[in-house]
């Protein structure tokens, strides 16, 4: 137990001086200050939980990317970059951009136009109570769990970098998040995500540039990677070309690998995640108009497609420049690649800039947790408390409840973090379990938006059977009955879940009664007049500020990036 509470590292990973704390202090003063600045704008429960639909698209667009730019993205993707090199780009260019554009163009008019306050509320209006409960409960539970995991990673990094005991780090971080969300609501969370984004870029851009300078630029980097790879007896081109990415997909055949990446990662996995995950969609719902909501993920793609340069390239540099990482790559020894970016910071950043880099990491990890808590808040209050537990109360009652649930979620996150500290495997399994809801959710949403015959009974049976299908495939994978290398297992589970969901939804709809047409107005394509699906002020905007032209530019840009870094 004492080991759990005080796992003090004997040796700190980074050698921070007292003045490295200055940027950390500046940043956190602003973070808490933002909460109080936004206080006046969070005076009703609606404003507190939904940001009162008041933010411009560039703010929500950056927050959309930032909410996802947490520990997994920075540490995990730089680790992948160090280990596998350029195929890691696919997680961004194939695994996010198409789904984000689809969300903006196709799905956002329904989410925003129907005036629902959450993704589960859309589910309620379209499919009724049973499907709503499955979605709302699984989402709320998943957010508490993931908030705890993010908090644990944050505590661990504070422990490593600054030497604080884990439990102290957990409590301090939870109090900071609680303070600004309970005072400023969702708008404060979004503002802080934007601020966090700028701080992360300020931290990672110098790291990338100095790292590249040290290895002799891009050509120096590629020739050194080739050298290390040849010494280890592996094919350097696997790391220096993003396609066909056999290291990533786990398929040996190049054709199968491309198919697997495009359909598995690019379609079933990423569409399930980006289009139905309320943590992301909530950022768009807080924007001030339908076109701004549509542009939120589209503007987000412009940011998202350049994030890999700030996380993957430092990973690749660490793979040749940091002696521990290069050695592990050369010998194939067991190594914690997640630390690659930290080790690179240690080796190339002077004190001062090192403080800013630590600030960036803390900012990123904390924003991830805050995004989970603010999304949990909305779903708990809008979808569970107001709808089922205590409907029809005055607004100040719900506003107070919103603050209580923020406190409860922050405290639960501390306990989840402590469990995560002790049972890492359990948390992995639980996270996988919740991810099994993604692909079927996407199937149920997309069928519901385009097929008015899909019935309430079909909604929940489709969801349940799709999730069970994903679970079955995963059990077969865990027990080793079927074995697929790399990401192959995840691709397979999501595909089976998606197909099962669509088939069950179609079959059950044949034998049950759909909702009457008038109740589906705003929720199904054919029953929603075009005026409700388009922004009334769209024609007043210059062409380059409209959603579809922007999406086309984003699409062309990402294809160009793929061609350059093939």
């Amino acid at each position: 137990m004492t080991a759990l509470l005080l796992p003090l590292e004997e040796k700190l990973l980074l050698n921070a001086y007292w003045y490295d704390y200055i940027p950390i202090a500046i940043y956190f003063a602003f973070v808490i200050g933002v909460g109080f600045v936004m206080k006046a704008k969070a005076a009703s429960s609606d404003a507190f939980l939904t940001g009162a639909r008041s933010l411009p698209a560039w703010v929500t667009g950056i927050a959309f990317v930032s909410a996802n730019l947490g520990a997994v993205e920075i540490m995990g993707m730089s680790a992948n970059g160090a280990q596998y090199g350029m195929p890691t780009f696919h997680y961004f260019w194939v695994g996010a951009i198409p789904a984000m554009l689809f969300l903006g163009i196709v799905m956002m008019p329904f989410y925003y136009g129907s005036k629902v306050r959450s993704v589960p509320e859309f589910m309620f209006k379209r499919y009724g109570t049973a499907a709503h409960l499955i979605n709302a409960l699984s989402f709320a539970l998943a957010q508490l769990l993931i908030a705890g995991i993010n908090l644990f990673l944050l505590g661990k990094i504070i422990n490593w970098l600054l030497g604080w005991p884990l439990i102290v780090a957990l409590i301090v971080a939870a109090i900071i998040v609680f303070t600004y969300i309970s005072v400023g609501g969702l708008a404060a969370a979004i503002y802080n995500e934007v601020l966090q984004f700028f701080v992360i870029v300020a931290a990672l851009l110098p790291l990338t540039l100095i790292g590249l300078h040290r290895v002799g630029g891009w050509s120096g980097l590629t020739s050194q990677i080739a050298e290390v790879a040849s010494q280890a007896g592996t094919d350097p081109s696997l790391q220096l070309n993003s396609w066909p990415g056999t290291l990533l997909s786990g398929f040996n055949s190049p054709v199968m690998s491309v198919v697997g990446i495009v359909f598995g990662l690019g379609f079933v996995l990423s569409f399930g995640y980006w289009t139905t995950n309320f943590v992301e969609v909530q950022r768009a719902m807080a924007s001030d108009s339908l076109s701004a909501a549509q542009k939120t993920p589209i503007i987000g793609t412009f940011v998202k497609m350049f994030v890999p340069f700030l996380v993957i390239i430092p990973g690749m540099v660490a793979g040749v420049l940091v002696s521990e990482v290069a050695q592990a790559k050369g010998t194939g020894a067991d190594f914690e690649f997640n630390n690659a970016i930290l080790l690179l910071m240690r080796d190339v950043l002077p004190n001062g800039l090192l403080g800013l880099a630590i600030t960036g990491l803390l900012a990123s990890f904390m924003a991830g947790m805050a995004a989970n808590i603010s999304a949990f808040n909305t779903v708990f209050n809008v979808d569970l408390y107001q709808r089922y537990l205590r409907p029809g109360k005055p607004d100040h009652h719900y506003l107070k409840m919103g603050k209580y649930s923020t406190a409860a979620a922050s405290i639960i996150a501390i306990f989840t973090a402590l469990i995560a500290a002790q049972y890492a495997n359990l948390m992995d399994y639980l996270q996988q379990l919740f991810s099994m809801f993604n692909a079927p959710l996407f199937a149920t949403f997309i069928v519901g938006m385009f097929w008015k015959r899909a019935t309430p009974a079909a909604g929940w049976t489709g969801l349940a059977s799709g999730t069970l299908a994903a679970l079955s495939v995963n059990i077969l994978l865990w027990t080793g009955v079927i074995s697929l290398p790399g990401q192959g297992g995840a691709f397979l589970a999501a595909t089976v879940a998606f197909v099962t969901d669509v088939i069950v939804t179609a079959l059950v709809s044949q034998v049950t009664h759909p909702k009457p047409d008038e109740e589906l107005r705003g929720f199904v394509y054919a029953l929603t007049p075009k005026e409700e699906r388009t922004d009334p002020h769209l024609h007043e905007m210059p062409v380059w500020r409209r959603p579809i032209p922007l999406a086309i530019v984003a699409g062309v840009l990402v294809v160009t990036l793929n061609v350059i870094f093939h």
């Binding site: 600045v37 002077p350 800013l356």
Partner: protein, 85 residues
């Protein structure tokens, strides 16, 4: 004190996200410039970065971003938040 007429006209306000970003990045930029002037110029620190005064360049970069944000905030008060209320 202020007449209702003057409050109708939207002016740059301190709760605008661009002002917050500009001040946070500006302060961190100044901090890095101070670091560049007083610490981190020893040979072993310079060896880390490959003979670049990284604090200087990063600090200058942050200040420029902060100034651009501040100018945007000043000349277009409405782009940071909705004009509602």
């Amino acid at each position: 004190m202020t007449s209702p007429k003057t409050t109708v006209k939207k002016t740059s306000d301190l709760t605008d996200i661009r002002f917050i970003i500009a001040s946070a990045l500006g302060l961190i930029g100044i901090f890095l410039l101070i670091c560049a002037a007083f610490v981190g110029t020893s040979p072993e620190e310079l060896a880390k970065t490959g003979d670049i005064n990284a604090n200087l360049w990063s600090g200058a970069g942050l200040l420029i971003v902060a100034i651009v944000m501040g100018i945007w905030w000043k000349i277009d008060p409405t782009a940071g938040a909705s004009q509602g209320e």
